[in-house]
Symmetry: C2
Subunit: 133 residues, 2 copies
């Protein structure tokens, strides 16, 4: 894949970013939502693994670079107005969230109007990130 | 549900918006990604149907208001950093996209680096929106 014309179909926002949603290819579960700049999206396709743009750290962020929980790219999709991409991925370790859960969307609004934590921690975050302390 | 304290857990961006992802409750398919302001999210919970904020039209947008393709809310989820919500929905008519497709993510990047349309049009958009012409 030499040409990167496909990147021109993306409608980058005023910060040069596009919303990116990661979905597990087996369970269909939504794992996380993050952001990509042009370089991150290009690298994601070239390396066949999720590379995001960290807005808080203002740098490229290869998902799993500290946790080992990389996301192998299975499918890359673009929505109708081009401002959102969907990554269907194989989530290594089965954990996408920095809290040690499968998904970042682990809170659900209950009937009483309160966010309830519904998903269990699979692995203690201290253990996940301890090799880098 | 009288208190709306749960809305304070959301981290609104500088435009007062939060990213919202809609997923079909049966198929697990990602249907679309749009935006909500505080009022839209509050109404979504109260009316138990997706209400978005249209950035292009600068107004509330009850999904399905012209197409009839409403999204009945099954679950509302919030991610770990509070800047993205997930709506698990029942998609009326089985069509979320204004192009007449089930999902807005109907283009997939192929091996040659080109976006390929992979999803069929279920209903001609002219038919969907004709009652309002």
């Amino acid at each position: 894949m030499s040409s990167e014309d496909w990147l021109d179909a993306v409608k980058w926002n005023s910060d040069g970013l596009v919303a990116a949603i990661a979905q597990d290819h087996q369970t269909g579960k939504i794992l996380m939502q993050a952001w990509m700049n042009r370089e991150a999206l290009s690298l994601t396709a070239r390396e066949q693994q999720a590379v995001y743009w960290s807005r808080s750290r203002s740098r490229l962020w290869r998902k799993g670079e500290s946790s080992g929980h990389q996301q192998k790219l299975i499918e890359l999709r673009l929505d109708c107005d081009g401002d959102s991409v969907l990554l269907v991925v194989e989530q290594l370790g089965g954990i996408a969230c920095h809290t040690g859960r499968e998904s970042c969307f682990y809170r659900k609004l209950d009937q009483q109007g309160e966010w309830q934590v519904t998903d269990a921690v699979i692995k203690d975050p201290d253990t996940i990130y301890s090799s880098h302390s």
